[in-house]
Amino acid sequence: MGTLKSILVGSALLTFTSLQASAQVEIQWWHAMSGANGDRIVKIANDFNASQSEFKVVPSFKGSYADTMNAGIAAFRAGGAPHILQVFEVGTATMMAAKGAIKPVHQLMAETGEPFDSKSYLPAVTGYYSTSKGDMLSFPFNSSTVVMWVNKDALKKAGVDKIPATWPETFDAATKLRAAGFDKCGVSTGWVTWVNIENFSAWHNQSLSTKANGLDGFDTEIAFNKSAAVVKHFENLVKYQKDKIYDYAGRTNEGEGRFTSGECPLFLTSSAFYGNVKANAKFDYTAAPMPYYPDVAGAPQNSIIGGASLWVMSGKPAAEYKGVAKFMTYLSSPAVQAWWSQETGYLPITPAAYEYSKKQGFFDKVPAAEIAIKEITNKEPTQNSRGLRLGNLVQIRDIWAEEIEQALTGKKPVQAALDAAAERGNQVLRQFERTAK
């Protein structure tokens, strides 16, 4: 059986390589972008392939972010990892800890002699994907942050003439919206923990967890349950949930349709929701900065990113790494970056790309697109707003969401739920700390 299999595989390989007679070096790129963004990925790859003849980037869609990461991990364990793997920001700590499995981007660029300056990227973005020494480990590809999407027609109908800037104003507006017929949902949030814990803490300069939210070490401990601002925010959410002035919309982005359908006029979620809103909203809309509590000193601080970065996997031949490095350079070029961010609502990752879009007058046409950049660069980041790096964050987010759901359904008091979220999260962190050594 073994011989038969090897003959089959061998002949398949022979056919394959003979078809590839032109000897282009193939670069496998596994990504998680579906729908229109998936088509954009294919366009980027095709444009790169057309721009030179030596390398060929082959993008493959691998499902959701979690699916793609798991596919990459499984492929690595089986010895067949792709060259480039798109991993969402919550997988960052896991990837970083897997030292032998990845090739740090700064090292890749140095070894292949590609021109590369990590300072030419937005610090708020790269900080997330760099070591404490500032070495960039993965290539920031698609980054977004939380903004509040606003249905202006609905606000007009409810007699709210100013887009709410603070949380008290937001709840007021949502109460008026309810009276004006939006009784199923005044305000809501997608990605419940990313918006209400992770970005909320950064925006209010509250510590989410010790050791600069884990950036300074895996021995971090969750602290947001001790923040009066966070507790107060969740008490408000629970209070307003009763009358659907705030209405919970799920753990990820499954509730985003409630904004575009007009059901939920105020909706906090990713700035990259823009492409979808542009395509589907049949009302006058805009994006506004996240609301804040004015009585919290220092708020608003700056927001933190979500989205994904590109990790280069280890153990590939030098010739292939050369192609990967060339592709990274291509991706960072202002024209490509500006096009990608204008189409999708993701942040331009270099100041050069930002300027490029500005010069084209893009932000005059679509002011909503600039909100995200303004939020992320609002102030010099502090220990609490540089980013976060928690191991097994996917699992931890589920735990947090579970506890939030308990609080929102009245099964647990807010403080008890947040304490449990912290305690259970810490257990996962300790487990991760042991495997990451």
């Binding site: 896991t94 897997a98 919970y248 099964k411 042991r434 495997t435 050594k437």
Partner: protein
């Protein structure tokens, strides 16, 4: 004289058994063995560092209230799905067994859902019951029912039970129908002549004669609920809200794949395997005795 074929030597019988044994070894014993081994390890997602931790994964698991919640959810879920799908299928099969016009069409239509993959079944039900998009959900809300499976654990569990049971009705229906058609008409006629009414005929003749089918289906359904409903749960609720639809097998997946905790996940699957083996053994030992063959 008794005719009996026998094989000289031991080689041929083993050779004939080989394919089946190989399949069982490759697809059951090896993976099960790996799961048991993995459950003693603490490993990172990439398999770069491995520590042997003996029973620590099991200790952690058994001290986790979430695990007991998953057990309760699984118990409720499996009883609800099995009862619902078996009784609905039996009712439908008894009705379809009557001489009706177009019975063939009904039968075909009833069997169709079996061809639907669990995930697709889940998505179909989600389309109807999603709070903001679903037609049925919209109707419920207009009637004043505060339907929200994203937040209300009862609603979420109801939805996955309905989807899972609906999916399994076809299979059960098919077997019940075949079982019904195998019952000799003469028995039923004799009872009718003796004056037994349809209900009585059903409970004293048809149902006992169906019991081997029902028993087989019970076993298959339990296995289905334990393992195959995973796709439905993943598509509809992701195990939420607050773990209200996280069954044991979903927890295995979520902790292992999404959470990257392979050791804990392996420990869970070992326990799950033990539970299913025990359940099946109990079924065969105690329930089978009451079954008429």
């Amino acid at each position: 004289m008794e005719k009996r074929s026998y094989f000289a030597g031991k080689l041929l019988p083993y050779a004939l058994l080989m394919p089946q044994l190989l399949v069982t070894i490759v697809f059951f014993y090896v993976p099960a063995g790996q799961a048991v081994y993995q459950s003693f390890l603490l490993q990172d997602a990439f398999g770069m560092s491995t520590q042997f931790v003996w029973l620590e994964n099991y200790q952690l698991l058994l001290s986790d209230p979430g695990y007991y919640q998953a057990m309760t959810v699984t118990a409720v879920f499996s009883v609800a799905v099995t009862t619902l799908s078996l009784s609905a299928a039996l009712l439908l099969a008894v009705q379809a067994d009557k001489s009706l016009r177009g019975a063939g069409i009904y039968k075909t239509l009833l069997i169709w859902p079996y061809a639907v993959a669990p995930v697709v079944a889940g998505v179909l039900w989600l389309f109807m019951f999603q709070p903001s998009l679903g037609m049925v959900a919209g109707g419920l809300r207009r009637m004043g029912v505060d339907w929200n499976p994203y937040l209300n654990s009862g609603d979420a569990l109801t939805l996955v039970v309905l989807a899972a049971a609906w999916k399994e009705v076809s299979y059960n229906f098919l077997f019940f129908l075949a079982g019904l058609q195998a019952i000799p008409k003469s028995l039923i006629e004799a009872a009718a002549i003796d004056g037994a009414r349809p209900t009585r005929r059903f409970w004293t003749i048809i149902f006992p004669l169906l019991s081997p089918t029902a028993f087989y289906l019970l076993t298959v359904n339990i296995v289905y609920v334990f393992f195959d409903t995973f796709g439905i749960i993943h598509a509809v609720t992701h195990g939420g809200p607050a773990g209200a639809t996280t069954t044991l097998v979903y927890k295995v997946f979520n902790d292992g794949r999404a959470g990257g905790d392979l050791g804990g996940s392996a420990a869970q699957s070992v326990i799950l395997m033990a539970i299913v083996i025990a359940l099946t053994a109990v079924q065969f030992r105690f329930i089978e005795r009451k079954v008429n063959y």
